[in-house]
Amino acid sequence: MSQSYEKQNPAFYAVIALLVFMSVGPVLLMFINSFKLDVDIISGTSGLLFLPTIQNYETALCDVLWYEPEHLDFCSLKFGGAFINSLIIALVSTMLTLVIGCMAAYALVRFRFMGRDTVSLTTLMVRMVPPAVLLVPVFGLWNNEFCLDKDGLIGGAIRDAFGGRGDVCLAGTHSGIILIYVAMNLPFVIWILQSFIVQVPKSLEEAARVDGAGPFQVFFKVVLPLIKPGLAAAAIFTFRIAWNEYLLASALSDRNTKTVPILIVNNMSEFNVEWGVIMATGMLLAIPPIIFTLLASRQIITGMTAGAVKG
């Protein structure tokens, strides 16, 4: 693809260089600092002249390392466990949101039925609900109402199988956090996917239906493959929120289901601001989204524009 590029004057390139520096600079700074000892960060006489160390990463990952780092007396930061929790929660909720959201979006676009407008209006309305608003009710419900009696049939079985005490509640489980993330992301995913499904030519579906395919077959065999770019965009956005969210996770998780953002905020504890370790954990949390951005920036941008340009 040969394309002639306009010649730009040097000032223009200088502006671009500055912009790139501004947007990437802080991330780079964090990256560099995560390889410094605290003393180096605090004294910081030299920006780049220092002896890189992986000590901060060792501290962060001490619970999954196969050896015991020498500089640690005990492993207080259980980053590995939190990372796994984050992965489980983000991946499962992304999958569920996509499947469920996709089906709903399809129904909203393709079928004319009673209450369609109400449904799509509600979808749009709940999109604006901030997580902070959900904090109080979700905290109350997940801890007190959405519970199985420990003496009941299922609750008893769960207690026998997994141990633990008290009634079996959604709070403190992966499922509890996943449920709220799926619910929170659904409106957005439905909204984005609608704009992709609209573009699928109806004739294709009708052809499939003539060949004897049922509605579900049409959906999975014809529609889904055609909206792959939309799915990718929706997946990345859902993952981003589920991976990065702090507030609700901190209200719902217990010591075994902590996610990485919680761990980072906790680690900013006031007695000991260990910049190096904090930067290292921050970097580890940022890596998956950075990788996605680098690999799929086109899909992200499509998703963003689809979401906004089509109201």
Partner: protein, 438 residues
């Protein structure tokens, strides 16, 4: 004759320990405990393996920052059956937990001969802290008194001391301040003598930090938050003076001091940005740690300066057994072991804050940490009533801290600001029923 009796007693005792290990019944139990992310409890983490080795009881620790810890505990203790077997709690949580019937009264464990160690020597625990942290139901509900009883044991006793840079003080021929006037004077002289250096680093960030810093000055300057019949008097002359002291300290402090939490305040001192530090004793370990500190060996310690009286803070943590715990007896054994003479000394040597007189006087501990003698002296002046420990304190504390932060950053008039606090506090107290009997 006497000798033989003694010998036989010793023999039986030894045989007793050999055959009836008090821990035997609980071997293999796993205790889940909730500790704060805090230097003292970091030291505890180092000595816990010793406990497991000795008793066969496993301990799983959930370490959280202390404000988070309280949120977590509120949730766990409120449930019918909780996860934690032993919790460390901040002093001011005592009122809430005891009031809501969420902590075990320790009497039944101390009375149980199978659990209670006869050599525990409870008299050796520092009185002020036992009453401040562990005791509830006495005078005013939170002080020592005939109607009270024990719900927890102090573990990680902190008080306030003044840390100062010996090198800076020597260089300019300054005397270590004994009184508040001297301290404030020096605090504002330092920036002139040493350009770029702040006088005293104090916490001042909005909320808990500002409130804490203010209360730190309030007690020695003769003030109190409430009078004897729960009327807020935080806005009297002493209160204003304390707020002025805080403002002076922050104004003459290091850059950005208005937004300092504890970590930043300490960080500034560790980095050599300030000449003095007035806060809890818990920092000593970090100041001597070359990985974190640029002032190793340059810091001297003195008592919290005197205003109209000596009155350093009583703070720190206590450990208690939640009423909804699963393994209460084993938890008591852990609690007893940690606070015993042996445990207290171990934790002191690992860098913690001991809670016993004997540990502060211990030769080994003093050899390792020469400042321990000063700290022991400071503990004697600790004021158990420097901060009220009542269930509604959290709300008042937040208001006080926010208002003071405004005084520091927005130049609110001090008297007006404190009058406002007093008025709102009065309303809170009224609603909570403190004036029912008036």
């Amino acid at each position: 004759m006497l000798k033989t009796i003694k010998a036989s007693v010793v023999a039986t005792l030894m045989a007793g320990t050999a055959f009836a290990n008090p821990y035997a019944d609980y071997e293999g139990t796993t205790l889940i405990v909730n500790f704060p992310a805090h230097p003292h409890y970091d030291a505890v983490m180092k000595i816990l393996p010793e406990f497991t080795k000795e008793t066969g009881i496993e301990v799983e620790v959930d370490q959280l920052p202390y404000l988070k810890m309280r949120e977590r505990q509120t949730l766990e203790l409120g449930q019918e059956e909780g996860e934690y077997d032993l919790i460390a709690y901040v002093v001011f949580s005592k009122a809430d937990y005891v009031y809501a019937d969420q902590l075990e009264n320790l009497a039944k464990y101390v009375m149980n001969p199978k659990l209670s160690d006869p050599n525990y020597d409870a008299d050796d625990l520092i009185d002020g802290y036992v009453y401040n942290i562990g005791f509830a139901g006495g005078n005013k509900g939170y002080l020592e008194g005939k109607t009270g009883s024990l719900f927890g044991i102090p573990y990680g006793s902190e008080t306030s001391v003044l840390g100062y840079r010996k090198d800076i003080f020597d260089k300019h021929g300054l005397d270590v301040p004994q009184t508040y006037d001297e301290m404030l004077d020096i605090a504002c002289k330092i920036p002139e003598l040493e350009p770029g250096m702040g006088g005293l680093s104090s916490r001042a960030a909005s909320g808990h930090h500002a409130s804490h810093a203010f209360l730190l000055h309030l007690a020695p300057l003769g003030g109190r938050v409430f009078d004897d019949s729960w009327n807020p008097i935080v806005n009297n002359a002493a209160g204003v003076k304390a707020a002025e002291a805080l403002k002076t300290i922050v104004d003459c402090g290091p850059e950005g001091a208005t937004n300092f939490g504890f970590g930043e305040a300490l960080g500034a001192f560790l980095n050599g940005d300030t000449a003095m530090f007035l806060d809890t004793t818990v920092v000593a370990g970090q100041i001597d740690n070359p990985d974190k500190s640029k002032v190793v060996g340059k810091v001297g310690w003195a008592l919290h300066p005197e205003g109209v009286r000596r009155g350093s803070q009583t703070g720190g943590f206590g450990i208690g057994i939640p009423a909804n715990a699963e393994n209460k007896e084993a938890a008591f054994l852990l609690m007893q072991w940690l606070t015993s003479k042996k445990g207290d000394k171990l934790v002191a040597l690992a860098g913690g804050n001991p809670s016993r007189f004997s540990t502060h006087a211990d030769a080994d501990v003093n050899a390792k940490f020469p400042h321990m003698a000063t700290f022991g002296e400071a503990l004697k002046h600790a004021d158990p009533d420097w901060r009220p420990i009542i269930p509604v304190w959290g709300k008042i504390n937040a208001d006080l801290g926010t208002t003071l932060s405004k005084v520091l950053t927005e130049d609110l008039d001090i008297q007006d600001a404190l009058d406002g606090v007093a008025e709102r506090t009065k309303a809170v107290m009224e609603e909570a029923g403190y004036y029912t009997w008036q």
